[in-house]
């Protein structure tokens, strides 16, 4: 019983670091999002965001670090929508994302998405929907209200198939066709449950 006292626990926590797979076998996946200040962002990205917005709401800037490089992301709310605008490491615009509600998706796309979900999963629950705008549709953009050419619908969905529950990120094209499916690995939640 005395083994369970503080020094032993400290030793166990050191062991926790040793059991860290990333530390033991070297980094294989590295993606991380850091909150940064506007002065750490390329000036072209700052001026682009300023040109798009007329309201003074706060913009949160993040630096996304990956193995292949890094990018910058501006997150803000405009009118009732949440936007996420991504720039490459030099400040060139890459992608615009807008979070919407399910009822704002057009009925034909809703139908195509539902057809896919009912065909592939036993149960599904949509957590989040984002519209993706990319390439020429956003290059000459003057205002967020002018966003029109949707590149993709990206959905985060809880699904159950054959008794197995998982969270998926599923992308659909403008005609509702499937583009990609990724499984999202959920973090350990024991520290919130027990």
């Amino acid at each position: 019983m005395t083994l369970l006292r503080v020094p032993f626990l400290c030793a166990l926590c050191c062991l926790a670091f040793l059991l860290d797979a990333d530390t033991c076998i070297g980094q294989t996946k590295y993606e991380r999002e850091l909150r940064i200040q506007p002065n750490q962002v390329p000036p072209s990205a700052i001026s682009y965001i300023d040109s798009l917005r007329s309201d003074p709401q706060k913009i949160k800037w993040y630096k996304e670090i990956r193995i292949e490089g890094h990018s910058y992301e501006a997150k803000f709310k405009f009118e009732k929508y949440k936007y996420s605008i991504e720039f490459d490491s030099t400040g060139v615009l890459e992608d615009v994302e807008k979070t919407i509600d399910w009822h704002e998706v057009s009925p034909d796309i809703q139908q195509a998405i539902c057809d896919h979900l009912y065909a592939h999963y036993d149960i599904h629950k949509i957590r989040n929907i984002q519209l993706h705008y990319a390439g020429s549709s956003i290059r000459d953009l003057n205002s967020l209200e002018d966003l029109s050419d949707i590149a993709a619908y990206e959905l985060v969905i809880d699904v159950r198939k054959d008794g197995v529950r998982s969270t998926r990120q599923i992308s659909f094209g403008v005609n509702g066709s499937l583009i990609s499916t990724f499984t999202i690995i959920n973090r350990l939640s024991d520290n919130m449950e027990f």
């Binding site: 369970l4 006292r5 626990l9 197995v164 520290n191």
Partner: protein
């Protein structure tokens, strides 16, 4: 909402001090929490927690005492994921003490939700404790917890996070009723997606229906590991 909770508890703390009669205890409580996923819906959780009393002061009698071993808890809980973000669980705990052991059965319902980068955890739990010579103790508790990344919107590997837990715990033993309020600010480190360590400074207050309050400060160190 969180700052309101913190303020309300701070108010209770002030009232406790104004009352002028209180027992204060400082407790060290390290724990190890191991979980094993049996299927996508079932998991087993084992918790070992040891409690040591580092310091006691009785403010009325001005008595002080030092370090003292209190007990060790060993709990095994089976959890079933009853929905995409909620689960039900039940289990058993043995409390190993110097004089006599106590036995506890546990039932709980938990919801884990994520909004705007903050992970929220809600837990409703009940338990029943038996030990020789004492009446059975029944407890009913409700807890809310918020887990906030300290960098970015997600808690990634090798990142720090903050967690705040607030709990109300009702207990009945024989004809006695007691209410305990807990607040636990915690700092955590994500070693990997299935391996976390946390350090907390938890404040607990009870004795609202007695002639004096009992203030307890828990220094916690927790290790959560999925095996």
């Amino acid at each position: 909402m969180l700052h309101r909770l913190v303020l309300s508890l701070f108010w209770l703390l002030i009232v406790g001090y104004l009352k002028g009669q209180a027992i204060r205890q400082t407790i060290v409580q390290p724990s190890v929490n191991l979980s094993h996923k049996i299927s996508s819906e079932w998991k087993l959780n084992m918790k070992i927690e040891s409690r040591q009393l580092a310091d006691v002061s009785d403010l009325e009698d001005e008595q002080f005492s030092g370090y003292q071993y209190v007990h060790t808890d060993i709990a095994m809980v089976a959890s079933y994921k009853s929905g995409f973000n909620h689960s039900i669980a039940g289990g058993y705990m043995i409390r190993i003490r110097r004089e006599n052991n106590a036995h506890r059965t546990i039932q709980q319902y938990a919801i884990i939700d994520k909004k705007e980068g903050i992970r929220w955890g809600y837990r409703l739990a009940s338990d029943q404790t038996w030990s020789s010579g004492d009446d059975m103790e029944l407890r009913l508790r409700g807890r809310v917890a918020a887990e906030i990344p300290l960098s970015g919107l997600e808690i990634d590997t090798h990142e720090w996070y903050m967690k705040i837990q607030h709990e109300y715990l009702n207990s009945w033993e024989g004809n006695n009723y007691d209410l305990e309020i807990r607040l636990a600010p915690t700092i955590g480190y994500e070693i990997s997606g299935s391996n976390q360590i946390e350090a907390s400074l938890e404040y607990r207050v009870n004795g609202f229906f007695e002639d004096r309050y009992r203030h307890r400060y828990f220094i916690g160190l927790g290790w959560y590991l999925r095996i």
